[in-house]
């Protein structure tokens, strides 16, 4: 049964696309509670990635920095997206504790925004970037 956090994140990310060389939707995920810290080794296991998949960590602020910034050239659709991204950032802060952002892989990069729900499980959002 999806938690309140998952429902809130689903709602806040609906219709949003993460822009890179492509555009990728956001999906929610929830992992069974695991003891210990979210290390790259554990992350690779949880995301079923190969042992040598590169793992890079960034802050939530960095992830949202350019997405929540208004630019002079923005038209109405871009302005609407900025608002939605600000809203999503807030929803993540409201519903998840100890949020961390991991980028896994190269060229095709899986991005995991993961934190702890009030029920004590790891959950969050996944999206993808293409970077050549």
């Amino acid at each position: 049964m999806p938690s309140a956090a998952i429902n809130a994140l689903k709602s806040a990310s609906k219709g949003l696309l993460y822009p890179s060389e492509t555009d990728a939707p956001f999906t929610t995920f929830q992992w069974k509670r695991t003891d210990g810290e979210l290390t790259p080794v554990l992350l690779r296991r949880l995301t079923k990635r190969e042992d040598d998949a590169p793992v890079d960590e960034i802050t939530l602020t960095t992830f949202f920095q350019d997405l929540t910034k208004e630019e002079d050239w923005h038209g109405k659709p871009e302005q609407a997206d900025v608002k939605k991204f600000r809203n999503l950032q807030q929803a993540i802060k409201d519903h998840l504790a100890d949020v961390r952002v991991f980028r896994v892989g190269e060229t095709q990069i899986d991005i995991y925004i993961v934190g702890m729900t009030s029920e004590g499980s790891w959950a969050g959002l996944k999206t993808r970037a293409v970077e050549t």
Binding site: L17, P19, T22, A53, E71, W73, E78, V130, E131, T132
Partner: protein, 286 residues
């Protein structure tokens, strides 16, 4: 008499050299040093061959296609670095009468926003890196091309610079219409505003790094590399399989490359196809 003749020859040599030297612009701007492939100009009336000279690269823009015709840049060691990526954005330097292509024009098109001058060729500063995300440096490129052989050739070029003390002059661009992406074959995207190329091409001249006039470094042993890749998701992953001659790219595009180099030196080189053995390719995870 012998020594006088030698003295005269020594004194006259520079004069003779200057008299024989081709009339090429002594620009400090490196990105068109080897030539202007389509004789693009910056007259706003020249909408489909409009020259834009940025600090980071030069390009000829085609308003009708909504993409560049070609992008040209010099790549050397100081250009490499770790500056972060920045968001894609429209080119606000284009004349007002031009159609403005935005990143949104590519959303859900089935094609990647494919860089011509790569971000990683300009990662020495944030400003230079950000400049590569301007939409006049971008074409709709099949994801399998952008992420595999095109990307691998870009990395090969940077390796020549970082590991083999080379300096590269690179020109690349789209050709034709009709590519195959995630949603199948398309001639255009964004309601016809952006043409999807049928092919992507690239030509490279490799000179040694170091002091001196780069044109004078070009000789009969200089390496030229050229590729023509089909713009389709069904592409093979090894870029070297798409090698061809610069001459063939000229025939494909109608452009003239590297005419900043004296004809007697460059013409024979343009007829050749690079045959150097390309080392083991990096494995692709998917």
């Amino acid at each position: 008499m012998h020594s006088l003749t030698s003295l005269l020859r020594w004194l006259l040599a520079p004069v003779l050299l200057i008299a024989a030297a081709p009339v090429y612009g002594q620009d400090d701007y490196p990105h068109l040093r080897m030539g202007n492939p389509s004789r693009a100009t910056d007259s706003p009336a020249n909408k489909d061959n409009f020259l834009t000279k940025k600090p980071q690269f030069a390009l000829s823009y085609c308003n009708d296609r909504g993409t560049p015709n070609w992008v040209s840049w010099m790549l050397c060691k100081k250009d490499l670095g770790v500056a972060p990526r920045k968001p894609f954005h429209p080119d606000t330097s284009l004349p007002r009468s031009f159609r403005r292509i935005t990143p949104r024009d590519y959303t859900d098109s089935g094609f990647d926003r494919g860089h011509m001058c790569p971000h990683s060729d300009r990662a020495d500063t944030v400003e230079n890196s950000a400049a590569t995300f301007v939409m006049t440096n971008i074409i709709p490129q099949a994801g399998e091309v952008n992420q595999n052989p095109w990307n691998d050739l870009e990395m090969y070029c940077r390796d020549l610079v970082s590991k083999h003390h080379k300096r590269l002059y690179i020109v690349c661009g789209p050709q034709g219409a009709g590519g195959t992406g995630k949603h199948g074959s398309r001639n255009t995207i964004a309601d016809g505003r952006v043409t999807v190329p049928a092919k992507c091409w690239k030509v490279i001249i490799v000179v040694p790094e170091g002091e001196g006039d780069d044109i004078a470094k070009v000789n009969s042993g200089t390496r030229l590399i050229a590729v023509i890749m089909p713009n389709t998701d069904r592409i093979e992953h090894h870029w070297d399989r798409y090698r061809t001659s610069v001459r063939k790219v000229e025939e494909l595009t109608g452009y003239t490359f590297f005419d900043g180099v004296p004809a007697e030196v460059i013409e024979p080189l343009k007829a050749k196809t690079d045959g150097e053995r390309i080392a083991v390719h990096r494995p692709h995870a998917r």
